[in-house]
Amino acid sequence: MMITKRQYFATVDKGEQEYTIDIVEETSNVFTVSIDGKSSTVDFARMGDNLYSIIIDGRSYDIDITEKGDIFSVLMGGDHFDVEVLDEMKRLMKLRTSAGLEGRQVIEAQMPGMIWKVLVEPGQEVEAGQPLMILVAMKMENEIKAPKAGVVQELFVKPDQTVAAGDKLAVVE
């Protein structure tokens, strides 16, 4: 069996602190994971679609991991962590893009639903927090607000359109 080694850089809940993680796959299911040099033996087993049993040096955890790109939403015992895990290349790319595109905000749907009303037009100036449109899901109205002041560059949706979580709704720049 080939041994896999990887190094990742991770942040938690969009925090400042960056953790360096080194992983070695020792045998089937068993990994050695070091976080900033502190090493643990980890037995990792899948229980169901997103459900995992993880044993770290004898501690047993029942964890739900939802993967969305490089962001892992980790739910354990009522605690929720959003962990971004990047390898060196992705980390470099991210540093570059976040420098370059700061002024341009792509607004994505945070939940699936139906666009009930669109309140702005392309070219319109908006303030930070100004509602752009109203999305209805499960009998509740949700205002989609401008994350910053700027001009509405693009609108990707129309009223009565159904959207999935993650669909692009608008661009404010």
Binding site: I21, F31, Y61, G78, M138
Partner: protein, 507 residues
């Protein structure tokens, strides 16, 4: 002669349809489900003996199809139970059933209508000797008269706009010296907002609790209460946790509330299950708010502390039988708590989270009751209420019920969508909640969002480890994908096993 009900159509969906079907299955009554196109795979459809689609088109998601429902019920020879919501408090629908000679498992159209009108309900209750929130209800014409009323009602009072709503044109007045200025400002605000400056006076309830009395009545003039439920834990005016009995009211208040509730039910001749909602102040004074003329979401906790099956009683009453129990045969045993599980993401401001449930493990062991409308493989639709289940715990003491619920929630696993389970877990750790000393402002004032964000486990190491390994496995699977292609058609679970071992073993 009582009509024997042999078949019941539940004009509802999800957990409450299943709840009613459970009693039917126990009693040997056949069941009929209705469903929309979007709900074809909802669990109430396969639970029933018969199931009929009521959608006109593939995109029609409405359950408000009186004509179709009546046609199905007639053809199937079924009585109708409305559940809650939808047609449950619609007098026109009930009236039509009466005309069509279909048994409605609920109160009469008149009672629904009476209690559906705020003024009608208030007047009926005042007549029956039930206390209501003191005040005038009429527009203030003379300020001195109004002050006299305010003195009688007792400060603090609220000045409210007769034509108001949405919190505007309201002013809290703590003492008489503030009355004049408050009245001027509120009246002018109301005039601006609603084009009318008329104001009325209502007593302001300090530290308000939402306490409700479950009642049952039959068509023979019998009525009884099944104790109370405390429903003060609300978020955006939605109940989220209920408990029975109330940890707040004292036995004297309890006894008084039971008495007036039963008296009122008898006075108006109400039959079937119903609930009188009261606002109770920190001084233990209680005032009628409204009466719900239906089975409530939170009825299971009452069933758990009394052993009474409320749906069975509703069916009996609809058949014209007397209630199974007399008041003196009803005993309260222990404490029960209900958590409403919503398909909402508590870590993202409770955004709705419909979608495919991939893992669904319900809690087991003692002292638990789950009323669920979901299962693994079920896609929670966009179109309906986000409540997917109710989970209830029981204990000999309140503390016992709380620690049971904590244990129970750790066993409830839902993947694929987000649920409010972590929110409930936080509430169950909040000191004000544990002390049983909360009012309706709890979520806003005592349980702040910090409670929700706070982590049991401050160290993120385990999460970091889990995420990093998952990333490694995902990378391997994509690498694998680029070199291999697999056949379609193998069992879903076989494939799942293979992917798992692929993830675990490939190196």
């Amino acid at each position: 002669m009582p009509d024997i009900i042999k078949k019941i159509l539940v004009a509802n969906r999800g957990e409450i349809a299943i709840r009613v079907f459970r009693t039917c299955r126990r009693l040997g009554i056949k069941t009929v489900a209705i469903y929309t196109h979007a709900d074809r795979t909802a669990p109430h459809v396969r639970y029933a003996d018969e199931a009929y689609c009521i959608s006109d088109t593939e995109t029609d998601t409405s359950y408000l199809k009186a004509d179709k429902i009546i046609e199905i019920a007639k053809k199937a020879g079924a009585a109708i139970h409305p559940g809650y919501g939808f047609y449950s408090e619609n007098p026109t629908f009930v009236q039509r059933l009466e005309e069509e000679d279909i048994i409605f498992i609920g109160p009469s159209a008149e009672h629904i209508k009476l209690m559906g009108s705020k003024t009608g309900a208030r007047n009926a209750m005042v007549e029956a000797g039930v206390p209501v929130v003191p005040g005038t209800k009429n527009a203030i014409r003379d300020v001195d008269d109004a002050k006299k009323t305010a003195r009688e009602v007792g400060y603090p009072i609220m000045l409210k706009a007769v034509h108001g709503g949405g919190g505007k044109g309201m002013r809290l007045v703590n003492s008489e010296e503030d009355f004049d200025s408050a009245f001027r400002m509120a009246s002018s605000e109301a005039a601006n907002a609603f084009g009318n400056g008329d104001m009325y006076i209502e007593k302001f309830i300090v530290g308000p609790h939402h306490v409700e009395i479950q009642i049952l009545g039959d068509k023979h003039g019998n009525a009884l209460h099944l104790f109370e439920r405390e429903c003060s834990i609300q978020r955006r005016h939605q109940k989220v946790i209920e408990e029975a009995p109330s940890p707040f009211i004292n036995d004297e208040t309890r006894a008084k509330m039971y008495e007036v509730a039963v008296k009122a039910v008898k006075a108006i001749g109400y039959h079937s299950a119903g609930t009188l909602e009261f606002i109770v102040g920190s001084d233990q004074n209680f005032y009628f708010l409204e009466m719900n003329t239906r089975l409530q979401v939170e009825h299971p906790i009452t069933e758990m502390i009394t052993g009474v099956d409320i749906v069975t009683e509703m069916i009996r009453v609809a058949e014209g039988k007397t209630l199974t129990y007399k008041q003196e045969e009803i005993f309260r045993n222990g404490f029960a708590i209900e958590c409403r599980i919503y398909a909402e993401d508590p870590s993202n401001n409770f955004a709705p989270s419909p979608g495919l449930i991939t893992v669904y493990e319900t809690p087991g062991g003692p002292n638990v009751r789950v009323e669920s409308g979901a299962f693994a493989g079920y896609e929670v639709p966009l179109y309906y209420d986000p409540m997917i289940a109710k989970v209830c715990s029981f204990g000999k003491t309140r503390e016992g019920a709380i620690i049971a619920m904590k244990r129970i929630l750790t066993e409830y696993k839902v993947s694929g969508i987000k649920t409010s389970i972590p929110f409930h877990q936080r509430v169950l750790k909040n000191e004000t909640f544990l002390a049983g000393n909360y009012d309706t402002s709890f979520i806003d004032t005592k349980f702040d969002m910090e409670d929700l964000q706070r982590k049991e486990q401050k160290d993120p190491s385990v999460a970091l480890i889990a995420a990093a390994i998952k990333q490694l496995i995902s990378e391997k699977i994509s690498a694998q994908r680029s070199v291999t292609r697999r056949d379609v058609g193998e069992s879903n679970w076989k494939r799942f096993g293979r992917l798992t071992s692929l993830g675990n073993r490939l190196g």
